[in-house]
C-alpha cells in the first residue's frame, strides 16, 4: 500500500464514510451482524473528545461550531452532515464576529461565545484583515483571537502547509530524525524539482510520471505524463524549468481494483482509500474504516468527486462480535442548537416555511384552475367564463406573478390562458412561479441542511423531482399536469407533516411555522380580495366559491358545517373568522400571536413587541369586522369594506415579515476592505 498524499487542514470524507456506513447498515443489516464489522461511532466520539480537549480555558462544555464556506462549496453536504451528527451549529464566516478578543456566534438570543472552531474553510480565507482580503468566507480579526489563545481552531491555521507533496520524499528522513523510526506506510516515489538531481530526473522521465503542483489550487489537477503529446510535454518541461521548486514528479502507479456494479454486472475499477485519524493526548485514533473511491471508467487513475467518482463503504472486520458503542448524542432536529440557533439559520428556516406554503397554496389554486379549464360541462355559459376569469386573476395575485392576468388588453390572454398558466407552473426564471418558489425553498433548506432529518430531506428531494417532472410534462400540455399536481400536493403536505411531527419545538420550528402561517394568511387575503371585492352575478360567485373551497381543502368541511348551498356569507365566515378552521385567517393570526409571544426578546422590555402589536391590530380588525358590512356593495359598485379591511390586514402581515427580518435576521452590513 502506498500513501499518495496527506490532507492536513480540512480533510473531507469522514462524513461521507459515515453516511455510506449508515446507508449500508440500513440496507443490509444482517450482513453487518454476521460479519463483525468494526463500528465508526468510536472515531467520532474521539473527534468530539478531541475538540473539547483543545478548547482554551476551563470551560466545562466548550461551544464548538463547524465553520463552512457555505452551500456553494462542493463538500457543503458533508459539513452539514457532520455538524448534525456531532450536534454542533453549522456556521458561515459572517455568523461569527470578533469582540473583546473572543469569537462570538450571532444567534437569535444575542452573542454566544465560541471556544472551538472545526474548520472547513481553507486557512488563507479565514481572516480578510490579515490573510486574503478578497475573502468573504472568513471572520475579520480571527487571527488576533487565535494569537491571544482565546479560540482553538482544528486543524490549526497554517496546517495546510503539510499537504505539500514536496515534503513526501523527505518523510523517511524526518521520521528517523524526530522519532528514530522508519515509516510504517511508505509514500509513493516522489521527486521534488527544487533540487538539481531530482529536477533532471523528472525532466528526463516526464512522459512516465505524474506532475503535481506543490500547492493545491481550485481547478488545478495532477497531470499524467503518458497522456501528454510531444508538444505538451515540451510545454510542461519549460514550465517546470522556469519554476522547478513549484512542482513534484511522482511515480505513476496503476491502482488496485475493486469490483463495481456497472450496468447490472461486476467490473473492476481502480480504487483509492482515504483513511482518517484524530489526535488524542496520547496518540491518534484511527477510523476503523474509511472512504474508498473508485474511478467512473476502467483505467482512469484520476479519482475525485468532481469527475464523477463512486464512493464505497469500507469495512475493517473484527474476529469478535462488535458491540454498539454508546450512541453518540445526535441531533437530527434543532435540539442541539438550543438557543444558539444562528440568525442566518433562522432566516433560512423562515423562508423554507414561507416558500413551502407558497408552493402548496399555489399548486392547490393551479390545480383547481386547470380542473375548471378542462373539465367543465357548461363552458359556454357567461357565468362560467366570468368565474374562470376571476380564478385566473386569483392565480396572478396569489403567486405574485404580475402583470399576468391583470395585464391590460388581456382579452386574448383570458380566452386562452394555457401559456400563461404553464409559465406560472414551470418558468423557473419568473419570480413567484411554482418552479421558482420550490427552487427558493430548496436553496434555503439546503443552507440549513444540518437541521433536517434524513426522512425530511428525502421528501425535499422528491418535491424537487416532481417539479422537474411537472416542467417536463408542461411541454406536452397543461392538461397532462393534473396528476402531477395531485402528487406534488401530497409531497408538500408530507413535508409539513414530517416537520410538524419530527422537529423539536425550539426556535427553529417557531420560525418555520411563523413563515408558514404568515404566508398562508397573505395568500388567503390576496385571493379573497381579488375574488370578491368586485361583486359578480350570484351564479358566477357560487362557481368561484366551489373552486376556492376546493383550493383551500375546505369543501367537505363547508358541507358538513353549513349543509346548505354555497353562499358567500358562510364562506367568508369559514375562511376569515372560524377560529377552528386550520385554513382560516383567524386561525393563522392566532397561531402567529402564540409563536411571536415565544420568540426570544431582550429581557428588560416590558412593553409588547413590534411583532405583537402588528398581530394585535390585525386580530382586532378581523374581530370587529361584520360579515354583512363586508358584503355590502357601496355606491362605487365594489365591496368597499371587504376591500379595505383585507388590504389593511395584508399590509399588517407584510409589515410583520419586515419586522421579523429587521429584528431577528439582520446580518448587518457586508464588510469591505479599506485600501
Amino acid at each position: 500500500m502506498w500513501v499518495l498524499g496527506d490532507r492536513t487542514q480540512a480533510p473531507s470524507g469522514a462524513g461521507y464514510a459515515l453516511e455510506n456506513r449508515l446507508a449500508m447498515s440500513r440496507v443490509l443489516p444482517s450482513l453487518f451482524r454476521d460479519t463483525h464489522v468494526h463500528r465508526l461511532a468510536r472515531f467520532f466520539q474521539s473527534l468530539r473528545a478531541g475538540l473539547n480537549a483543545v478548547a482554551p480555558g476551563d470551560a466545562d462544555t466548550p461551544r464548538v461550531v463547524v465553520l463552512t464556506p457555505g452551500p456553494l462549496n462542493e463538500t457543503f453536504f458533508e459539513h452539514a452532515y457532520l455538524a448534525s451528527y456531532l450536534g454542533y451549529p453549522l456556521v458561515q464566516g459572517d455568523d461569527l464576529t470578533i469582540r473583546d478578543g473572543y469569537v462570538w456566534l450571532k444567534s437569535l438570543v444575542g452573542l454566544q461565545r465560541v471556544d472551538v472552531i472545526l474548520r472547513r474553510v481553507d486557512d488563507n480565507y479565514c481572516d480578510p484583515l490579515e490573510l486574503r482580503e478578497d475573502s468573504r468566507l472568513g471572520v475579520p480579526g480571527l487571527l488576533e483571537v487565535v494569537r491571544r489563545g482565546n479560540v482553538a481552531i482544528a486543524n490549526p491555521l497554517g496546517s495546510g502547509i503539510l499537504e505539500n507533496p514536496g515534503i513526501m520524499p523527505f518523510l523517511p528522513g524526518i521520521a528517523k530524525y524526530f522519532l528514530g523510526q522508519t515509516l510504517k506506510l511508505n509514500s509513493i516515489a516522489t521527486w521534488w524539482c527544487g533540487q538539481a538531481r531530482e529536477l533532471n530526473y523528472v525532466l528526463a522521465n516526464l512522459e512516465r510520471l505524474v506532475i503535481k503542483p506543490i500547492y493545491r489550487k481550485p481547478g488545478e489537477r495532477s497531470v499524467f505524463g503518458h497522456q501528454l503529446s510531444r508538444a505538451q510535454l515540451a510545454d510542461w518541461r519549460a514550465r517546470i524549468k522556469a519554476r522547478p521548486a513549484l512542482y513534484v514528479g511522482q511515480e505513476y502507479e496503476s491502482f488496485s481494483t475493486v469490483p463495481a456494479l456497472v450496468a447490472g454486472g461486476y467490473e473492476p475499477r481502480q480504487t483509492v482509500l482515504r483513511c482518517f485519524m484524530v489526535a488524542r493526548a496520547d496518540g491518534y485514533t484511527l477510523m476503523p474504516g474509511g472512504l474508498s473511491r473508485s474511478a467512473p471508467q476502467y483505467g482512469n487513475m484520476m479519482i475525485s468527486n468532481q469527475t464523477g467518482g463512486i464512493s464505497k463503504d469500507t469495512w475493517v472486520v473484527a474476529t469478535e462480535p462488535q458491540h454498539p458503542a454508546i450512541p453518540a448524542k445526535r441531533s437530527s432536529s434543532l435540539a442541539g442548537h438550543g438557543n444558539a440557533l444562528p440568525s442566518r439559520a433562522a432566516d433560512n428556516i423562515f423562508w423554507v416555511g414561507r416558500n413551502a406554503e407558497r408552493a402548496e397554496g399555489g399548486v392547490r389554486l393551479l390545480r383547481a384552475t386547470i380542473k375548471k379549464l378542462f373539465s367543465n360541462p357548461d363552458r359556454d355559459s357567461p357565468d362560467y367564463q366570468l368565474s374562470l376569469e376571476t380564478l385566473l386573476r386569483c392565480v396572478t395575485s396569489m403567486t405574485g406573478t404580475y402583470p399576468g392576468f391583470f395585464a391590460e388588453d388581456n382579452e386574448s390572454l383570458l380566452q386562452s390562458p394555457e401559456a400563461e398558466l404553464l409559465a406560472v407552473v414551470a418558468d423557473e426564471s419568473r419570480a413567484g412561479s411554482l418552479a421558482n418558489t420550490v427552487n427558493r425553498m430548496i436553496q434555503s433548506g439546503y443552507a440549513v441542511r444540518d437541521l433536517w432529518s434524513s426522512d425530511t430531506w428525502r421528501v425535499i428531494d422528491e418535491i424537487e423531482e416532481q417539479v422537474s417532472e411537472a416542467r417536463r410534462l408542461g411541454k406536452i400540455g397543461l392538461w397532462s399536469m393534473q396528476e402531477q399536481m395531485d402528487q406534488l400536493i401530497t409531497t408538500l403536505s408530507a413535508f409539513s407533516g414530517l416537520v410538524m411531527e419530527s422537529m423539536t419545538r425550539g426556535n427553529g420550528w417557531l420560525f418555520l411555522d411563523i413563515g408558514r402561517r404568515l404566508e398562508r394568511g397573505l395568500q388567503l387575503v390576496s385571493v379573497l380580495r381579488t375574488a370578491f371585492a368586485m361583486p359578480q352575478s350570484e351564479a358566477a360567485e357560487t362557481r368561484l366559491l366551489e373552486s376556492l373551497l376546493d383550493t383551500s381543502d375546505n369543501l367537505i368541511c363547508y358541507r358538513q358545517h353549513y349543509r346548505s348551498n354555497l353562499e358567500l356569507a358562510s364562506f367568508l365566515e369559514l375562511l376569515l373568522m372560524d377560529p377552528n378552521n386550520p385554513r382560516s385567517l383567524a386561525y393563522q393570526i392566532a397561531r402567529l400571536q402564540e409563536h411571536v409571544g415565544k420568540l426570544p426578546r431582550e429581557p428588560s422590555t416590558r412593553r409588547i413587541s413590534a411583532e405583537e402589536r402588528l398581530l394585535l391590530e390585525a386580530s382586532c380588525l378581523l374581530n370587529i369586522a361584520n360579515i354583512d358590512d363586508l358584503l355590502n356593495v357601496s355606491e362605487s359598485g365594489i365591496r368597499e369594506a371587504l376591500d379595505q379591511q383585507l388590504s389593511k390586514i395584508y399590509a399588517l402581515l407584510a409589515a410583520l415579515s419586515d419586522t421579523l427580518t429587521a429584528n431577528y435576521f439582520r446580518h448587518g452590513d457586508a464588510p469591505q476592505s479599506l485600501s
Binding site: 484583515l129 475579520p140 491571544r148 469591505q672
Partner: protein, 293 residues
C-alpha cells in the same frame, strides 16, 4: 541625523461605520543603522481593543478594533528617529559574483542564508517571470559582482522608467509597469525585486520615508512628503544592503525605514475591514522634519 516623521491617514465615509478591524505598520522598526527615539499612534475614534506585536519579519504592528459609529477615521503616527549613515561609496567591482551568491543562497545552510532564501521566492505582488528575467539579463552578465549588477539594474530602472503617479495604483500588475515603463516608487521596488528574483537571488521590499529637500532658495512645504519604498539585497559578505531605484541612490542618512517584507502586501501601512460606510474618501499626509545632527 535626527528626524520627526508625522504620517496622518484620514478616511471620510459616506455612511457611518459601526465596526472596524485594523492593522497599522507605521512605527519605524529597529534596525542596525536606525534608532527609534520616540513614537506614538493617535487613533480617532478611540479603539475598544488595542494590541501591539512584532510580526514575522520583525516589524512593529498595532492591531485594533473600533466599535463606535463614525464617519471619520484618523490615524496619526508620529516618530522621532536617529539615523546613522551607512558607508555609501563602495568599490562595486569587488565582491562575490552574482552566480556564486546564488550558489550559496541555494546550498549554504547557515542561518542568514536560510533566512534570505525566502526572499528569493515569488510573493503575492511579485511573480518573477520571463519578461522580468529578460529585462534583468543586461545587468547580470557572467561573472559580474552581485553588488555591481544590482547597482547597474537600479541605474537602468531609473533611466528607463518614468515616475508617474497618475499611471499606476496598487492593483496595477508588474507586467503593465514593465510594458509602459511608468510607475511610482512601489512599482520600481517591486520591479527591481522581481528582476533580482528572476535570477535566483534574494531581495526584499522596504517601506519608509525619505527627507525631501526644497528647491534651492525655497522654503520646504508642509505635507509635501510621502511614504516611500525601495529594496534591499542580501550580500553574503556585507549583509542586507539597500538600493533606491526611484532616486537612483544608495540610502544614506535621509531614508527612514519603517518595515520590510517580501513585497508591499507584507508591510501595508494601514489595513482595515469595515462594516458600513459605503464609499469613502482617503487623504494621506506625511511630513518629515529634519531635527539636525
Amino acid at each position: 541625523m535626527r528626524y520627526r516623521v508625522t504620517h496622518t491617514t484620514t478616511y471620510r465615509y459616506q455612511q457611518p461605520v459601526g465596526l472596524s478591524y485594523n492593522e497599522v505598520r507605521m512605527q519605524p522598526r529597529p534596525c542596525p543603522n536606525q534608532q527609534l527615539l520616540s513614537s506614538q499612534l493617535k487613533i480617532t475614534p478611540l479603539p475598544c481593543d488595542y494590541r501591539t506585536r512584532t510580526d514575522f519579519f520583525g516589524n512593529q504592528v498595532a492591531w485594533f478594533s473600533i466599535r463606535e459609529p463614525h464617519r471619520e477615521f484618523v490615524v496619526t503616527a508620529s516618530s522621532e528617529v536617529q539615523i546613522f549613515p551607512q558607508p555609501v561609496q563602495l568599490d562595486f567591482s569587488h565582491g562575490m559574483s552574482w552566480e556564486l551568491v546564488k550558489e550559496a543562497l541555494w546550498n549554504d545552510r547557515s542561518e542568514p542564508l536560510l533566512e534570505a532564501r525566502q526572499f528569493a521566492l515569488d510573493s503575492p505582488f511579485i511573480a518573477a517571470d520571463a519578461e522580468l528575467a529578460a529585462y534583468a539579463q543586461a545587468s547580470f552578465t557572467p561573472g559580474k559582482a552581485l553588488i555591481e549588477a544590482i547597482h547597474d539594474l537600479m541605474q537602468r530602472i531609473h533611466r528607463d522608467f518614468t515616475f508617474d503617479p497618475e499611471f499606476t495604483n496598487l492593483a496595477t500588475p508588474l507586467t503593465t509597469v514593465l510594458e509602459h515603463r511608468r510607475g511610482v516608487c512601489q512599482d520600481f521596488a517591486h520591479l527591481a525585486i522581481g528582476c533580482i528574483r528572476s535570477q535566483g537571488l534574494a531581495a526584499r521590499y522596504v517601506s519608509g520615508y525619505i527627507e525631501t529637500l526644497p528647491p534651492p532658495g525655497k522654503k520646504k512645504l508642509v505635507g509635501a512628503d510621502a511614504s516611500h519604498a525601495w529594496f534591499s539585497v542580501y550580500l553574503p559578505d556585507l549583509g542586507w544592503m539597500d538600493f533606491d531605484p526611484t532616486n537612483n541612490q544608495l540610502p544614506g542618512d535621509r531614508h527612514i525605514i519603517v518595515a520590510w517584507g517580501r513585497d508591499y502586501s507584507d508591510v501595508t501601512p494601514l489595513k482595515g475591514v469595515i462594516f458600513g460606510g459605503q464609499n469613502h474618501e482617503l487623504k494621506v499626509a506625511v511630513e518629515v522634519e529634519n531635527l539636525g545632527a
